[in-house]
């Protein structure tokens, strides 16, 4: 099972690559869009700002390639943190920026959606399931995962919301639209719980 990690210039690539190697995946760091076509799974990692991230994706021609492989061919994609946020329709970070649009929704700063605590939201927080999902097989409800972000995904359609976390207000922790998954937390940095989640993603077979 080969997994391509999209290297658009902004991720904590080293950590993501190692986490997948750890669970026995064959990992390819995709430095250009052509490299994702022969992978079975795609990961869109992310550390950084929405506008900058979308600019990097646009410049190198990632967006059409991702659309073809993920939306048309139906290969499973996991977006992590900024990678999850860029799945949205729009981002609201220094003006409005168009996202990939794979899961309808918008990305807004935590204080805009009602959080009055310290921003960024940094650290381990419990993830609360709203529905069962293959990603959480073997992971008990309310397990802690590592978060580090200032913006949050607000899905347009509640059906796409798999799990929340609470940081003064409800924050989308995991979203899914068919074969497209997104985690606001960092599974690659969430120790054993995170490794299990990544393994579940690798083992998931789209119907």
């Amino acid at each position: 099972m080969k997994i391509a990690i999209v290297n658009y210039g902004m991720g904590n690539l080293g950590s993501v690559r190692r986490a997948f190697e750890d669970i026995g995946a064959e990992v390819c760091v995709a430095n250009h869009p052509a490299a994702i076509y022969d992978a079975n799974r795609i990961v869109l990692p992310g550390v950084g700002a929405f506008t900058e991230g979308m600019k990097c994706l646009a410049n190198a021609g990632w967006a059409p390639a991702l659309h073809e492989v993920v939306i048309q061919q139906g290969k499973p994609l996991l977006g992590i943190c900024l990678g999850m946020q860029m799945l949205a329709t729009t981002g609201h970070e220094g003006g409005e920026t168009k996202g990939l649009g794979f899961i309808p929704g918008r990305v807004q700063r935590l204080d805009v959606i009602g959080c009055k605590l310290r921003i960024p939201h940094v650290g381990w927080n419990d993830v609360n399931y709203l529905k069962d999902d293959v990603l959480f097989d073997g992971i008990p409800d309310h397990s802690d995962f590592y978060f580090v972000h200032s913006y949050a995904f607000v899905p347009e359609n509640q059906e796409h919301l798999i799990a929340n976390t609470s940081y003064d207000c409800d924050v989308a922790a995991t979203i899914r639209n068919g074969n497209v998954f997104g985690c606001q937390f960092h599974p690659e940095k969430s120790s054993k719980a995170g490794r299990l989640l990544l393994k579940n993603f690798m083992d998931y077979v789209p119907c």
Binding site: M10, N12, R18, I119, G123, V148, H149, Y167
Partner: protein
């Protein structure tokens, strides 16, 4: 609910881990890699690695070593020491660091904090502040591994760094560092009250009670400690048990529900 983090700090100089007292009289305490392995196997919340000699000696970050270290680290890994430009941050992130801690260069080139936060996101940029208390009770920030007095006040400096996009403040009391006499509560409280970003208290932890008081009384979002974990029988898990008993939310070790 967000948990209070317990973060072992690894002070790294030349080829090994060191311990000092108030940033002085460093002595070797062992190699880095086995320490990271042990902390990782004990499922700690996060790790901070600080190359304490880099800025002092003008060396760039050693990303090859960081790459070896991060290989063993499945939890968030912050790397600091000697960072002067964006390219080094890119190299560290590729090497497996999740966050970078910037101290000395923040004073000479505060723009680096802004450009790094814009490029990599605020959450990736930890500003490390080493502060010393004067006899009159005022505090001052020191650069170059606590050798140069910058004449900046920690509260003002932390505010400026937060405004420039820092995601966290790693606040170390130079006076308390390595003494195990307890955190400088006044220092932590002043800074934690002044900024809206998380403040990691560092320097002086000698008992679990010290950790509890800096969280409850001074508002720290995380506690960093080195000596207590290296030189006493106290452990990060023990710290979290004590903190939980004191009513502080902490992360419990993960147990899978799958018996498949």
């Amino acid at each position: 609910m967000l948990k209070i983090r317990v973060i072992p700090t690894l002070l790294w100089k030349d080829f090994g881990l060191v311990k000092g007292v108030s940033f002085d009289s460093w002595r070797r305490v062992g190699p880095v890699l086995p320490a990271i392995r042990v902390y990782n196997s004990r499922d700690v919340d996060e790790l901070i690695l600080a190359d304490i000699a880099a800025s002092l000696e003008g060396n760039p970050p050693d990303h090859d070593s960081v790459s070896d270290f991060s290989e063993e680290c499945a939890v968030p890994f912050t790397v600091g020491g000697g960072i002067t430009n964006l390219e080094q941050i890119v190299a560290l992130l590729h090497a497996g660091a999740d966050k970078v801690a910037i101290n000395t260069t923040a004073y000479s080139n505060p723009n680096l904090i802004e450009t790094a936060a814009n490029r990599f996101g605020a959450q990736c940029v930890v500003v490390s502040i080493d502060a010393k208390r004067y006899a009159d009770g005022r505090y001052s920030c020191y650069s170059h591994a606590a050798t140069i007095d910058t004449a900046k006040m920690p509260v003002e400096w932390a505010k400026e760094m937060a405004a420039r996009g820092a995601g966290e403040i790693l606040l170390t009391s130079i006076d308390r560092d390595g003494t195990m006499l307890g955190y400088d509560l006044e220092l932590v409280e002043q800074v934690a009250n002044a900024v809206d970003i998380p403040v990691i208290a560092s320097g002086g932890a000698g008992s679990y009670d010290h950790m509890i008081e800096v969280v409850k009384n001074a508002g720290a979002s995380a506690v960093a400690a080195a000596s207590i974990f290296h030189f006493t029988e106290q452990t990060p898990t023990g710290a979290k048990n004590a903190m939980q008993a004191a009513g502080i939310p902490v992360r419990r070790n993960f147990v899978s529900s799958a018996a498949k």
